[in-house]
């Protein structure tokens, strides 16, 4: 599933500060793309716009031949649930649910938790935390929590996985573990992966880098 960015401009505040100054480009189906750049370069803003969590001030994003700016809100919610997965810097697991229940959360939207339970356990086993299925987030290490968050992002078998600084809160070993996981998912499932990072080492794992400077891809 490809993503086409058409002259995306994003401004905030009054008087408006322009963060993205006309970003265009394409992320092809099955690519692993790292968006890099300094703080304030607009890399996270771009990620949230192409992943439908934010709206551009002008311009358009075409995902799977559908314009995100033209899509009805209800369709966007469905699209997010079934075609996209998200991983954040702070893994944001629900503290009152155990690892397995956290992974199954997206399936609640379509009332299909039972059907996905086996797959959820498979994912946890694949990520080396199968024995932690019944543990609460507070009983897991930072690396384990992030792996649960990745499993949660993958449970609906999305076509694209978006990640904002997925290694930002992890030590190098755990960061590498997560990056290896991404590459494995991409190879095994053909999932398009777009992630933001300021760590050059991890960015080099991607098939392509989009380097942002002052709101533009250079």
């Amino acid at each position: 599933m490809s993503i086409i960015m058409k002259n995306i401009i994003k401004s905030f505040g009054t008087p408006p500060t322009t963060i993205l100054k006309g970003v265009s480009g394409e992320i092809k189906d099955g690519e692993v793309v790292a968006i890099t750049g300094r703080s304030g370069s607009g890399k996270s803003t771009l990620l949230y716009i192409i992943s439908s969590l934010d709206k551009p001030t002008s311009g358009d994003v075409i995902v799977d031949s559908q314009s995100l700016t033209q899509m009805a809100q209800s369709d966007i919610h469905k699209f997010r649930n079934q075609k996209m997965g998200f991983v954040f810097q702070f893994h944001h697991l629900l503290p009152e649910l155990n690892a397995l229940e956290n992974v199954l959360m997206p399936t609640l939207k379509s009332n299909s938790s039972d059907a996905f339970k086996e797959y959820a356990l498979e994912l946890l086993n694949e990520f080396g935390i199968g024995d932690k299925a019944n543990s609460l987030p507070s009983q897991l290490s930072g690396g384990e929590q992030q792996r649960v968050a990745v499993a949660r992002a993958l449970i609906m078998k999305p076509k694209i996985l978006f990640a904002d600084e997925p290694t930002g809160n992890l030590d190098t070993a755990n960061g590498q573990l997560v990056m290896n996981l991404f590459m494995r998912i991409n190879r095994a499932r053909g999932t398009t992966i777009v992630f933001v990072t300021h760590d050059q080492l991890f960015a080099q794992s991607a098939t392509r880098q989009l380097n942002m400077v002052d709101g533009l891809i250079v």
Binding site: H77, F86, R152
Partner: protein, 416 residues
């Protein structure tokens, strides 16, 4: 969403329990206060309805005017200038055409019984003690069909007064005051003629002190003779098949003839207005308690919404819609309201039951010696609905605020 809502509530056990307690106490207070007040009201209404008739047709008292007596003394053209103008009440009031009234009432299918009466004021004397009394002359069998006087008899039967023979039924309080007992003879006068001896044939206890101290029942003919108004009646007591029709029926009959027709509730307007005031106080008090409980829910959910901002963002990024998030918090409020209401109903019943076993008086006039508590199911339904409704109302605003949160705003907030 129920699954997650329950988990959210369980993760904040202390706050959940405290909020639940607020709702439980609100519902319990409503049930206990309502049960007590309605129990009292039901008892008083029962006394008012059953100790007297449902409807009473009374002779209208006519007052003398300046011109009332002109024609009695002078030609119609003469203009009389009275030195002291006629004033006051016209003789003793009596129903002008009692036969017509009785026929009319007996024909009415909504009426189950009628009892013509002569009510007059009198004085009862026993030895050296004299007390003002209210004399009621009636046919004992008809009177029994109109009120539940028979069930209030302490000694003898109401029918012992017969249809003549100067026998009377008196209240136990009156007997205490004058010092007489059943079987003895007392003197009665209605203010006209010489006092006549009447034998106490029966003793009753209606439970209303003012009646038990003053009311004397006798045969219609005996009281008419004592009052020197033979064949006259002043009242017709009416019993209805359905007491709820009393007010409407009385208002309709009031349009016919000169007589005044009043239902039991119209006649006791003062008491009924006290009940209305009681209801207002009861409802305001309960609503205040539930508002406080509602604020508890509002508070706990508002805090939860702020506390769960990151989770809301995550849920939204997973494709959950604003209405799903609103539902997540609304369900929490409703769960609190549902279980709070349910526990409140159970505790309210237990408290009411406990109160109904409390001894408050040895006097039969208070419905035995226990507190009278109403267990009307409507109180419990109302308490439950109020608990649920106040919870839904209180959780609506924080739930809506949660639904309106945009994930990107939360994520940006986290980043900054």
């Amino acid at each position: 969403m129920y699954f997650l809502a329950i988990r959210h509530l369980l993760s904040r056990k202390k706050q959940t329990l405290l909020t639940l307690l607020g709702i439980v106490l609100g519902a319990t207070a409503y049930i206990a206060i309502s049960g007590m007040m309605l129990g009292f009201q039901t008892f008083i209404i029962d006394q008012l309805v059953n100790n007297d008739s449902h409807i009473r047709v009374k002779a209208r008292e006519e007052m003398l005017t300046v011109r009332s007596l002109d024609k009695a003394f002078f030609e119609s053209e003469v203009l009389v200038d009275w030195i002291k103008a006629p004033s006051g009440r016209k003789d003793n009031a009596y129903i002008l055409a009692p036969g017509k009234w009785l026929d009319r009432l007996v024909m009415d299918e909504r009426i189950s019984a009628v009892s013509p009466q002569l009510v007059a004021q009198g004085i009862a004397t026993y030895g050296k003690v004299s007390i003002g009394v209210s004399l009621v002359g009636s046919d004992p069998e008809r009177q029994k069909a109109v009120t539940n006087i028979e069930s209030a008899m302490l000694q003898g039967k109401f029918s012992d007064i017969g249809n003549s023979g100067n026998r009377i039924a008196v209240g136990d309080e009156l007997l205490k005051k004058i010092g007489a007992t059943k079987g003895e003879t007392i003197l009665l006068t209605a203010g006209k003629g010489l006092p006549q001896p009447f034998r106490i044939a029966a003793v009753f206890h209606l439970g209303v002190k003012s009646l038990d101290e003053t009311r004397v029942f006798g045969a219609l003919r005996d009281i008419q003779r004592l009052n020197q108004t033979p064949s006259r009646i002043s009242d017709i007591a009416v019993r209805l098949k359905d007491v709820n029709l009393a007010s409407d029926l009385a208002s309709t009959y009031n349009l016919i003839g000169q007589e005044k027709v009043q239902s039991w509730d119209q006649a006791n307007e003062g008491t009924m207005s006290v009940f209305t005031t009681q209801d207002i106080v009861r409802n305001s008090m309960t609503i205040s308690i539930l508002i406080v409980a509602g604020f508890g829910i509002y508070n706990i959910l508002s805090l939860a919404v702020t506390h769960k901002r990151r989770e809301i963002a995550i849920l939204r990024s997973m494709g959950f819609e604003p209405k799903d998030i609103t539902r997540l918090f609304l369900i929490q409020g409703l769960i609190l309201g549902f279980f709070g209401g349910l526990l409140g109903v159970a505790l309210g019943f237990a408290v009411s039951f406990g109160m109904s076993k409390m001894q408050v008086s040895g006097d039969r006039s208070l419905g035995g010696n226990h507190m009278i508590v109403s267990f009307d199911y409507a109180i419990y339904v109302k308490a439950f609905v109020l608990a649920l409704a106040s919870s839904a109302f209180a959780s609506f605003l924080p739930a809506r605020a949660a639904g309106r949160m945009e994930p990107i705003d939360i994520i940006r907030g986290e980043a900054s």
